[in-house]
Assembly symmetry: C2
C-alpha cells in the first residue's frame, strides 16, 4: 500500500542508535526532572498533598495514553479480545462473594505515642534487616544494599553482633515474611521486641485493615459499596454475556482498562505504591482439562528469565534462562496458556522500551499467593527501588466464576456439544411419597431432602443392604424398600458443561510507566545536567519538535504549515519558538523524550528542505517535506531505524545545534 | 505522501449514501438490540443490579474509545491543549473550597410509608404536569407528550379541570422549577398537596442530599475524601504548573478525560442519568479583559441553533438560527472564546455522527446556573427522552482559581510583562508609629490595622480634612496629622498580574454515546426487525467484517491473511465464519454498526479479488487487495465517500447477499 523506502524492515522497535555508555543512574536528578517538567506532581499539591495520590502532567499523561494504545493493539486487537468497561463503584455483596471483604487486607501496628501507623510485615522486615546489617558490621563483613528494598523505610543500623542462632532465626523469618498471619506477626513483634524504628517506642498489636475504599450508594445509605480493588470482578460477572457475544466459542479473553483503588496503609515508594492506579487486565477463559493455547507454537522458542518458587524456597535468587517451550516441558511453567502470555508480556514490555535485562519472571511462593490464585508469575522490573512487580500473570482457576455462581444461583458455565456423547451409569433413588408422608409426618420433608442428598456410594450400599439409615437432629430414621428403592440407570450426555478456568495477565500501568522512565533515563556524558529520556518513538509523548532557527517572521507560516502537515499524518508535534538558542531548545525536549526534531532555517525558505534530528545520537539528515514525512511515519511506526535513515540520506552537518 | 485516488476529498464525514426514509423510531426495539448485542448491561446484573450503574460491552466500549480518540484529536491535538490526568479521590478540603460540599446537592422527599425517595424538583414537575394534562383532557384539548420528560416518571393522569388561576400558577412554577430553594419547594408541596404520585401517600419535607460519594483516605480514617463530581478541580489545582509548562504564555487550555461520580437520588433515565460516567473537560484560561479567541475568524460564519435565556424567560422555546459571528455581535453569546468553542463543539458532534438538526445550544437561565458559573450554554441533543444536555460550555469566570488561591495562600495568577509600563497615582498613608503606640496602647494594633485598610477615597477625604475618624468596637478614634499623613505618590507597574477567567467546555461522553446510538438507529424498510446502526466509519466499533462465503477449507488461510493485513493498516476487523447464511451474518453486523464487509468467495481463490459491501446502501464493489486496502483506509479516514468509491470501481452485482 505504501511505497517501501528501505530494504530491511524491522517489525519490532530497535534501539535507534548505539548510545554512549551511560553514567551512574542519579535518582535525585531524575526526580527533579520529573517534577520540573511536570511529568508528575503530588495530588492536591497546593493543599499540601495526600500520600499515595499523584497527578500526571502533560508528558506522563501522553506517555500513559500511548502505552495504553500499544497495549490495546498488542493484546486486544492482536488476539481479538473482548474489551469491556465496567463500573468502579461495586456493591459490597459482590466483593464479599469474591473474598475481598474478608481477605483483601493488610495488618497494621499503631504507635500509641505518635499515632504513626506501620504495615506490620514491612515493619518486621525493616527492623530485622537492620539488625542483620548491624550484625554484619559488627562482624566486620561487607554490607551491601539489598536491591529488594521497595517496601522498607531505612532505619538506623546499630553495629551489634547477634547470636548465631538468632541470626539464623531472623533469616528464616524474612524468607517467609509474606506468609505470616496477623496473630503470628503479633507474636514475632513481642518475641523479638520490635518497636518503632525511629523512636524505639512500643507498638500496639497488629490489627487487620481492609485495603478497599468504602462508600455508600443512593440517598438512604442502605447500599454499601467499595471502589473496586481490581477490574477483574466486572469481567467475571459479565461472563455469560461475553461467552454469548463470542458465539459460545472457547477459549476466549475479555479485557478491561481502568482505574482501581487500594487504600494503602502508608504508601512511601513514590509512583510505585499509590492508592489510585490504572490497570489493564485480561481474563482468558480456558478449558480446565487442557489449558492449552493454540498460538503457543509461535512463541515457544522465546527465551525468558525465570525465578521459580523452588529456587526462592531454597533461599536463592538465581535466574534460570530457558525458552518458554523448555519451561513448560520441564513443568516450571504449568501450561501453554500461561506460557504464551508470559512471552506476550515480555514482548509488550520490550516493545514499549523496557530494558530486557531488567525484566524477570518470578513465581509466587505458596504462602504469598492472593486468595483467588492457584499459581502466579510476576513480571518484575528492576528499578532503583529494587525488583518491582509490574505485571501479574495468575491462574485464578475456576475460583471467581464458581463463587459468584453459587451466590447468585446463575450458571456461569460453558456448554460444549460433544461429538461423541458420553455414556455412563449411575444410581438413582425412587422415593415412594405416598407412604413416606403419612409415616414421617412433620419430618417427611427433612427425610426426603436427606434422601435426595445421598451420594452414589451411599445409594450403592443401600441397594445392597436393602435399607438406609441416617440421623436428623439426633433422631435416627431407617427406610426400607417400602419407602425408597435404588436402581442403576444409564445416562447419555451430548453436552459437556464446565466452569472455565481463568488465566489473568494483570498490568499495573503506572508501575510500568515509572519503570520505563527509569530505564529510559540517562544524561549526556559531556554534561551530566543534560538529562535525556530515550523513549521509543511509538510511545514518546510527543513525536516531533518543530524549531524555527530564530524569531524571523518568514519562518512563522512555514512552522504553521509543518505543524498542520504532521498533525494530518498523525505525528504529534510541538513548536518551540521561544527565544532560547536552538541547542537549549533541543536539550529541553530531550528531557521530555521527544525523539525527533525538525529545524526550519533560511535554507528552508529557499528550497523547502528541513533538517531532522534524532534525540539519542543528535545526528541529523536534511531532506524534502515529502521525504521527511515518510521517514517520520516509518520511524514512529517502528518500520525503520535511524541508522537506516542516515544511511539512505547521509548525515547532515551544516548546522551545529548542540 | 499517499497517492490520491479520487478527485474530490471531503475533510469531514459525510453520510455515505442516501438512506431510505426511516420508519418511526422504536425505542423498545433499540433497547432490545442494545441488550442482546451486549452494547450495555446493568452493572452487577446477576446480583440484580444497582440503579444508575451500567457496564459497556465490547461494541459500546470500542465506540467510547473511538469517540474519546476523536475528541483528543479534535480538541487536544488540534488546539495544543495540555492534557493531564489527576486523581478521582479528592480530599474534602478541596471540595469545601470549591463550594461542592455546601452546594452540590439536590433536595429529596421521603415517603415514610414506603421508604421511597423522590427528587423534590422532579416530583413537583411530574405532579403538576400530570395535573395540567388532566386539565387539558377535561377541557377536551389535544394532549401531546412533552419532549422534555427526561427527568420524570410517568404518573397516572386523571381528567380534572383546574381553575384558570391555578392552571396559570402551575405553569409559572414549572417555568421556574430549576430555581427554587429547598424551603420554597417544601412550601409548594404543602400548598399544592403534592404527594407520592403512585400511592397518593403524604411525603416528608424536602431534605438536602449532597450528590458526592464520600470515602475516607488512609488507615486512621482521619482524611475525609470524595469521589470527584467533575474533573475540573484537578486541573485548577495544577494551574501554576500548567502555565509554566506552557512557557507562561496565555491564553491556553488544559484538558482531562476521566470518570466522575454523582450519587443521583433516584436515577431512572437509563444511560442518561448514571452515577458513574466518563467526562472530557477543557479548561481554557483567558485574559478577563478581552476573552477573545485568535481563531474565531476561522469559524465566524458557521451557523448554529440558539435558544437564548431571554427566549426561555419569556416562556418560549423558539430556536434562533444565526452565524456565531452574528450571535457574538448581537451579544447573545458573550465573547469570541465562548463562541469559538460552541462551533468547535458543534463540529465535533456532527463529525462523530450526531444529526445536526437534533442539536441546539440552550443558554442557562440565571436561576439554574451552577454555583461557579456566570454564563453557560448547553449543547442539547434531541432523543426519545427529550432534549438532553450533553455538553456544557460554562464561563466559570475567576471563581475557582480565586477560592483555591485564597484558601491555600498560593498565587494562581498570570504575570504579564507590560510593553508600556502602567503609570498611575495613588494615595498612601504614612503612620507615625512612635506616637501611635504610646497614645492608643492596647488599641494601637486595631487602629493601625484600620488605617492600613483605608480606601483611596477615604485617604483623599482625610488629606483634605486633615484628620480621620472611625469606630472600632463602638469606640470612636480620631487621628490628626500627628499620627498619620496622606500623600499622593506616583507608581509604575511593568508587570500586570491577573487571575485568568475560565471557559469550560465539558462533555458527558456517555450521554453523547447514547444520543449518537439513537441518532444512528433505523431499521430496513423491508424488514422492521433488521436494525441498523449507521455509525460513521471513524467511530464505528469495528470497521470491517470478514466473511468467507462458506465453511470451505480453502477460505481459511485467506481469511487469516486478510485479518492480519487489515490489522497492520490499522483497520479493526472481525471474522464471522459461523454457519449462518451470508445475509444473516451481514444483518447481525449491521446491528453492531460495522460499516464495511469483505466477502471471500471462490473467485477470491482464483484471482485474489474480494467484494466490499457498504452497510447503509448494501451495495458492493469488487477489487484487488491493494485497492480494497486503500479504499478502506480512505473511507475510515473520512477522505472519500462511498458514492465516490462506487463511481470509481462500479457497483458489483455478482452475488446476492441480502
Amino acid at each position: 500500500m505504501r511505497r517501501v523506502l528501505y530494504l530491511a524492515r524491522s517489525r519490532t522497535y530497535q534501539k535507534m542508535t548505539a548510545r554512549p555508555a551511560r553514567p551512574v543512574f542519579d535518582k535525585e536528578q531524575l526526580d527533579s526532572l520529573l517534577s520540573r517538567r511536570f511529568f508528575v506532581a503530588p495530588g492536591f499539591e497546593i493543599y499540601a498533598g495526600v500520600a499515595g495520590l499523584y497527578d500526571y502532567g502533560p508528558p506522563a499523561c501522553a506517555l500513559q495514553a500511548n502505552i495504553v494504545d500499544q497495549w490495546r493493539k498488542h493484546f486486544v486487537l492482536e488476539e481479538d479480545m473482548l474489551e469491556i468497561d465496567t463500573t468502579i463503584i461495586t456493591p459490597a455483596e459482590v466483593l464479599k462473594t469474591s473474598g475481598h471483604v474478608e481477605r483483601f487486607a493488610d495488618w497494621m501496628c499503631k504507635d500509641p505515642a505518635s499515632g504513626e501507623i506501620f504495615r506490620a510485615d514491612h515493619l518486621i522486615e525493616q527492623v530485622l534487616e537492620a539488625r542483620l546489617k548491624g550484625d554484619k558490621e559488627a562482624r566486620g563483613e561487607s554490607v551491601h544494599e539489598s536491591p529488594d528494598d521497595t517496601k522498607k523505610r531505612k532505619a538506623k543500623v546499630k553495629p551489634l553482633k547477634l547470636d548465631n542462632a538468632v541470626k539464623s532465626e531472623y533469616e528464616q523469618i524474612l524468607a517467609k515474611i509474606d506468609g505470616y498471619s496477623g496473630k503470628e506477626m503479633g507474636e514475632l513483634i513481642v518475641q523479638y521486641s520490635i518497636r518503632n524504628p525511629v523512636t524505639d517506642k512500643p507498638l500496639e498489636a497488629p490489627q487487620e485493615f481492609n485495603l478497599m475504599f468504602d462508600t455508600s450508594i443512593g440517598p438512604t445509605g442502605a447500599i454499601k459499596g467499595y471502589l473496586r480493588p481490581e477490574t477483574a470482578q466486572g469481567q467475571f460477572l459479565n461472563f455469560s454475556r461475553l461467552l454469548e457475544f463470542n458465539n459460545n466459542r472457547m477459549p476466549f479473553a475479555s479485557a478491561q482498562i481502568g482505574k482501581s483503588f487500594r487504600n494503602e496503609i502508608s504508601p512511601r515508594s513514590g509512583l510505585l505504591r499509590v492508592r489510585e492506579f490504572l490497570m489493564a487486565e485480561i481474563e482468558h477463559y480456558v478449558d480446565p482439562e487442557t489449558k492449552s493455547h493454540a498460538r503457543f507454537n509461535e512463541v515457544k522458542d522465546v527465551k525468558l528469565c525465570f525465578l521459580p518458587k523452588d529456587t526462592q524456597e531454597a533461599g536463592k535468587t538465581d535466574i534460570t534462562e530457558l525458552t518458554i517451550g523448555q519451561a513448560v516441558e520441564m513443568g516450571i511453567v504449568d501450561n501453554t496458556t500461561l506460557g504464551y502470555f508470559l512471552v506476550r508480556i515480555h514482548q509488550f514490555l520490550v516493545k514499549i522500551g523496557i530494558t530486557a535485562s531488567k525484566l524477570r519472571f518470578r513465581q509466587h511462593m505458596k504462602n504469598e499467593m492472593a486468595h483467588y490464585a492457584c499459581d502466579c508469575w510476576d513480571a518484575e522490573l528492576q528499578t532503583s527501588y529494587g525488583w518491582i512487580e509490574c505485571v501479574g500473570c495468575a491462574d485464578r482457576s475456576a475460583y471467581d466464576l464458581t463463587v459468584h455462581s453459587k451466590k447468585t444461583n446463575r450458571k456461569l458455565v460453558v456448554r460444549e456439544n460433544l461429538e461423541q456423547p458420553r455414556v455412563y451409569h449411575e444410581w438413582e433413588g425412587q422415593i415412594n411419597k405416598k407412604v413416606l408422608g403419612p409415616k414421617f409426618k412433620k419430618d417427611a420433608k427433612a427425610v426426603e431432602e436427606r434422601l435426595l442428598a445421598m451420594t452414589q456410594e451411599e445409594m450403592e450400599r443401600a441397594s445392597q443392604t436393602g435399607s438406609v439409615s441416617f440421623d436428623i437432629n439426633g433422631q435416627t430414621f431407617t427406610l426400607n424398600s417400602e419407602f425408597v428403592t435404588f436402581i442403576k440407570v444409564t445416562r447419555k450426555e451430548s453436552v459437556r458443561e464446565y466452569t472455565p478456568n481463568v488465566i489473568e495477565p494483570s498490568f499495573g500501568i503506572g508501575r510500568i510507566l515509572y519503570s520505563l522512565i527509569e530505564h529510559s533515563y540517562w544524561s549526556r556524558p559531556e554534561d551530566s545536567q543534560r538529562g535525556v529520556l530515550s523513549f521509543p518513538p511509538i510511545i514518546a509523548p510527543i513525536k516531533c519538535l518543530l524549531v524555527p532557527l530564530s524569531g524571523s517572521p518568514e519562518f512563522i507560516p512555514i512552522v504553521k504549515h509543518w505543524a498542520a502537515t504532521l498533525r494530518n499524518i498523525g505525528i504529534s508535534n510541538k513548536v518551540d519558538d521561544s527565544s532560547a538558542n536552538i541547542g537549549r531548545r533541543y536539550a529541553r525536549n530531550d528531557e521530555l523524550g521527544t525523539p525527533f526534531g525538525i529545524t526550519i532555517d533560511f535554507q528552508t525558505v529557499k528550497d523547502k528542505t528541513v533538517t531532522l534530528r534524532e534525540r539519542d545520537s543528535t545526528t541529523q539528515i536534511r531532506a524534502s517535506e515529502i521525504d521527511i514525512c515518510q521517514v517520520l511515519q516509518d520511524l514512529t511506526g517502528g518500520k525503520v531505524t535511524w541508522e537506516q535513515v542516515v544511511q539512505k540520506y547521509g548525515e547532515f552537518q551544516g548546522q551545529s545545534l548542540d
